[in-house]
């Protein structure tokens, strides 16, 4: 009996639907040219308050460039950005709407402590010394750095600096949170904590753009996905819609057979070969237009029992690779 594992679909955490009406972030046909390189080509994005939009793409796709444009650090060659209806510019009023978690490591004063760093940035947001200290202490507690509050940031690990970076972005409880590769290189516990913090911010009404190249991150986190590759937007929609783009072609089979399987057994339907995971494990590769059911029927007809059948890649990964133009 074949047991086909369905692609895992998790629904993003429910957030107040009333908040999801007007977009908090509207980026319209953004293009960015760096000398001869077209970094972004007519990318559009709309994110409602209280929702998380995943910005997915391989390295060099243009994710960081788009976040820098949304944060006002970079002026696009063409296109427009509006945050809560306000046109992006370099004004203080615009910048007060943004919390940015940059991708790099170097964004803190390494010779001073975590709490002093946060206090400094809080005061740049207009907090008094007392308010800054209180907010910094609260956030250090939230990101799990209370014990390291008085340690110099230079002694922080990569993961601790990332958490500190999230804390800094949340200092002024901004309505828009831009997160660039926040969990890249983090251990699972650290990554989980960062995701929780960002999800909580969205639950409180923040519109979040979460840039990542890791597909596993967007399940259960993102309400929507924008996939960009080589500066072009190749997909925009929900996670299930992204997965619907996937055309699974490779399956891992666990078979019970009385002898060896002829690799030409499937004919025009596809090929089957040992996967190397054991004598009874095989890799089935379907040809274009072929149906999984035809392959399984052909195996059954030759006296082979299919014990399990699992997609070699997840649905999201299939869609990502297919849309991003990779294998």
């Amino acid at each position: 009996m074949a047991a086909v594992t369905a692609p895992e679909v998790e629904v993003a955490r429910a957030r107040p639907s009333a908040l999801r009406t007007l977009p908090a972030i509207e980026a319209d046909t953004i293009s960015q040219q760096f000398d001869a390189k077209q970094a972004l080509d007519s990318v559009s994005l709309a994110v409602a308050p209280g929702s998380v939009q995943a910005l997915l793409g391989p390295n060099g796709a243009g994710k960081t460039t788009l976040l820098r444009i949304l944060s006002g650090l970079l002026v696009p060659t063409s296109g427009s950005v509006r945050i809560l209806g306000r046109k992006a510019d370099s004004s203080r009023a615009f910048r007060s709407l943004i919390g940015l978690v940059p991708s790099g490591d170097r964004s803190f004063y390494l010779r001073i402590s975590g709490v002093e760093n946060l206090m400094f940035f809080a005061r740049l947001h207009g907090a008094t010394k007392r308010e800054a200290k209180q907010r910094a202490t609260e956030l250090l507690e939230e990101v799990g750095l209370a014990d390291a509050a008085k340690t110099r940031v230079g002694f922080y690990s990569h993961g601790m600096q990332k958490r500190l970076s999230v804390a800094r972005a949340l200092l002024a409880s901004p309505p828009v949170l831009l997160v660039d590769e926040a969990t890249h290189d983090l251990d699972p516990e650290g990554a989980h904590r960062v995701r929780d913090l960002v999800t909580s911010a969205a639950e409180r009404g923040a519109a979040v753009v979460w840039a990542t190249q890791r597909l596993d991150e967007i399940r259960g986190l993102a309400d929507g996905v924008t996939l960009i590759a080589q500066g072009r937007q190749v997909f925009a929609g929900s996670v299930p819609e992204l997965m619907a783009q996937a055309v699974p072609r490779r399956y891992l089979l666990h078979l019970r057979t009385r002898g060896s399987i002829d690799e030409a057994l499937l004919g025009d339907v596809g090929t089957i070969e040992r996967s190397g995971d054991g004598a009874s494990h095989y890799l089935l590769v379907l040809r274009e237009e072929a149906m999984l059911g035809d392959a399984l029927a052909a195996l059954r007809a030759s006296g082979v029992d299919v014990l399990t059948c699992t997609e070699e890649r997840s649905g999201i990964e299939q869609a990502f690779l297919s849309l991003a133009g990779a294998r």
Binding site: Q32, F34, T65, R68, S71, G72, L73, L74, V75, S90, R92, A93, R95, S96, I98, L100, P102, G104, D105, R106, S107, F108, Y109, L110, R111, I112, E116, M119, F120, F121, R123, L124, H125, G126, T128, K129, A132, R152, R168
Partner: protein, 274 residues
Amino acid sequence: MRSATGELRKLPAFVRRDFLVAWSYRMSFVSDLVNLTGQIVVFYFIGLMIDPSVLPTYGGTDVTYLEYAAVGIAVGVFLQFGLDRVSAAMRGEQLMGTLESVLVTPTAPSTVQLGSVAFDLVYIPLRTAVFLTAVTIAFGLNLSAAGLIPALVVLVAFMPFVWGLGVATAALLLTFKRGGGFLGLGLVGLGLLSGVYFPLDLLPSWLTAIAEANPISHAIEAMRDSLLGDASLRSVLPTVVLLIPCSLASLALGLGAFRLAVRRERRRGTLGLY
């Protein structure tokens, strides 16, 4: 107005940050004092070779070379601070990668500029005061206590001029990333034509004409008049009147150039690059 007050309230945060960073390098305070002492000892011995009659008189009194140079060095420190430290602070932010993190906060670029030197604005005058007091005590310098107020007034009128030059230099560094050559050239030129170490009369006549148009040389001479010649506030007033428009122009030029540089880097996406 409220916005300007809000921006000014951010300055103590910069002072605290830079104090904590400086304090984390405690030895640099010690080496700074050692350097200063070394410099004075050198000028003391040079002074022994120089006939005071070649030096100008202040308030009708002869001065020693050490007295002459000490005031020049004290003002020269401000000059160096303005040209070097202002741009170095910006470069430091770029190298540490903190510039973008600061500029993404709702803080005006001019506040970031002023903030990045706010600690020096507190530290350098203190250091200068300690320097002059130490030199006075150790080498028996004859500095006028009554001249302190006029000297301070000249200094306050003069500081924005230097700061403006420093901000303009920072704009150059932000744009061209490496501007050490410009900076060195500027320091040598201004040092040579400001009368920090020697009287301007010793220069060739065509250079003297240029030096006399240099607001820094006027500021230094007014400081010497005050501290060595016991000049009154009224007598340094013409210099102050001359310095104020120069300072305003320099500051406007510097802040304008910095604003343009930030805007350009925002368009090019190279704000954080160095």
